[in-house]
């Protein structure tokens, strides 16, 4: 058993398609026109200076942030919005949006595990209560996932008794339990002590190798170089450069990219 089994079909459409995405908080223009297409199975890492809009952009992909302009489609469907009979763009119902989000795994910087549940319950809760899977099936799968992230013996403890790295591995298992079509990672190792970073990256590496589509906001340049199919550099709310990691890291085209890389490499 692996963390993920990629479907045995070919997608014509990109799995994620963002066109001209704008987002402001008050008078702060955070995203100033982001375009991005991600193919299935691709591992894309978003890098860039803080305040560049990486996290905000990632959060718009499952509509944890609503966008002001542009469009975002996941698997060909607009996320959180649809056109009505008269062709006008309207909000989807909360239920429809919830169903769309259920297909998109999200891993948070601060894990956000449910502290009142055991580790195992954290993982099977949503499959049972959201997808209505039989509990026995969901628990069995939760146990498998927990074993795959190397925490089988922690099933019955509370998240707060785990280290940060362990919590993040549980959070990844929790997201995978919904059998998502793609996974979004928002700085998954930034809140961790340095010695815990490796164990989380190892799980993400396995997942990438299994063919999961992943969009990752990260400052881990070693990981990016090794795992990413494509690096996207963001600055000032837009994408300024993208390409193979080696290409971007060794021969950056953009002056801002050079400045950024000189600080982090």
């Amino acid at each position: 058993m692996t963390l993920y089994t990629a479907p045995n079909t070919i997608d014509i459409e990109p799995i994620v398609r963002a066109v001209g995405v704008h987002k402001s908080f008050g008078d702060k223009h955070i995203l100033t026109g982001v375009d991005l297409e991600v193919a299935r199975g691709e591992v894309v890492v978003l890098v860039g200076p803080s305040g560049a809009g990486k996290t905000t952009f990632l959060r718009t992909l499952n509509r944890l942030e609503a966008i002001d302009a542009g469009e975002i489609a996941v698997r060909g469907e607009r996320i959180g919005q649809r056109t009505n009979q008269r062709g006008r763009l309207v909000e989807r119902s909360v239920r429809e949006l919830a169903q769309q989000r259920a297909e998109i795994g999200f891993v948070f910087q601060h894990f956000n595990l449910f502290p009142n549940m055991t580790v195992l319950e954290n993982i099977w809760h949503a499959p049972v209560h959201v997808k209505r899977e039989p509990k026995a099936t969901a628990v069995a799968y939760a146990n498998e996932l927990l074993a795959r992230v190397g925490l089988a013996e922690k099933a019955d403890v509370r998240p707060r008794s785990l280290s940060g790295g362990q919590q993040q591995r549980v959070a990844i298992a929790r997201a995978l339990a919904m059998r998502p079509a793609l996974m979004l990672f928002d700085e998954p190792t930034s809140a961790l002590d340095p010695e815990m970073v490796g164990e989380v990256l190892a799980v993400m590496r396995d997942l990438a190798a299994a063919g999961m589509t992943m969009i990752v906001v990260s400052h881990e340049m070693g990981f990016t170089r090794e795992v990413a199919d494509r690096v996207i550099v963001m600055d000032g709310g837009r994408i300024i450069e993208s390409g193979y990691p080696d290409q971007v890291f060794t021969a950056p085209q953009h002056e801002r990219t050079r400045q950024f890389l000189s600080k982090v490499l």
């Binding site: 297909e103 948070f108 956000n112 449910f114 209560h129």
Partner: protein, 268 residues
């Protein structure tokens, strides 16, 4: 000092049926008013978080007016004032064979309204005490906002809300003593009737005080049990022991665990 010990012990240990009826009425009114206030308080708190401005305005006005006026005045307006103005009169009703006096209904309504304003603030700060990331995690797993509230936020908020809600109920039980002003025959009213006919004023009111103390002590025991149950569910250490709680010998560590910090609601 003339203290009639015989009369005191007699009233304390073998209270008259009348007195026991008053005690029972005190308990019933408190419990019913609290139960209704929990429902109304939750509704007001949800209104306060609504997307619709009129509901939010209503919730703030409600809290402002109710918390800004004395319970005593509210009770008199509801019972006596409304009747005098010909707006509404609480009539005695027969509920499953039990006669519910108009004054008792007015008392329950008044206490419920008053308490619900305070409860809505406890609920609000309880919900706000749950980290925003919890809601986002729930949404990202495909829960609807309502589902996230019900399955993730509320279960965590309840543990935070129980200590202040319990204290609120304690206060409510003591507040019932002012119901005598609208003629409800609760424990205090019975006590004052007895003192008027026997002139054993000191003895009677000491007995009354001891019975209130009994009620609040029993409730503190129950509340500690509830908190321990919730803490056990959440995998947290036990709440502080009842003896410490009753006699004010709180250890700093235990207090921090038992009562997670809430923003002072009155400062809002």
């Amino acid at each position: 000092m003339a203290f009639d010990w015989t009369y005191f012990w007699q009233s304390l240990l073998t209270p008259s049926p009348q007195f026991l009826n008053g005690l029972a009425l005190t308990v019933v009114i408190s419990v019913v008013a609290m139960a209704l206030a929990l429902v109304v308080g939750l509704l007001i708190a949800l209104m306060g978080r609504s997307r619709f401005l009129p509901l939010r305005i209503f919730a703030s006005l409600y809290i402002w007016v109710i918390r800004g006026t004395p319970l005593l005045v509210q009770l008199v307006i509801i019972y006596t004032g409304f009747a005098a103005a010909g707006l509404f009169r609480f009539e005695d009703v027969d509920l499953f064979g039990a006669l519910i006096k108009g004054a008792v209904q007015a008392a329950i309504v008044g206490l419920m309204l008053n308490e619900s304003a305070y409860i809505s603030e406890i609920v609000r700060s309880g919900l706000e005490s749950v980290d925003r990331g919890q809601n986002e995690a729930a949404l990202s797993l495909g829960m609807t906002p309502l589902g996230a509230m019900r399955r993730i936020i509320v279960p965590q908020a309840i543990r935070v809300m129980v200590p202040p809600l319990g204290n609120s109920f304690n206060g409510l039980m003591k507040s019932t003593s002012i119901l005598s002003i609208i003629g409800v025959a609760e424990m205090f009213q019975i006590g004052s009737t007895m003192s008027a006919s026997t002139f054993k004023v000191f003895e009677i009111y000491i007995v009354v005080a001891l019975y209130y103390l009994l009620l609040t002590t029993v409730w503190t025991l129950a509340q500690t049990g509830i908190e321990n149950m919730l803490n056990a569910q959440a995998g947290l250490p036990r709440a502080e022991p009842v003896l410490k709680r009753l006699f004010g010998l709180r250890s700093r560590r235990a207090a921090a665990v038992a009562a997670p910090v809430l923003q002072p609601v009155d400062a809002a």
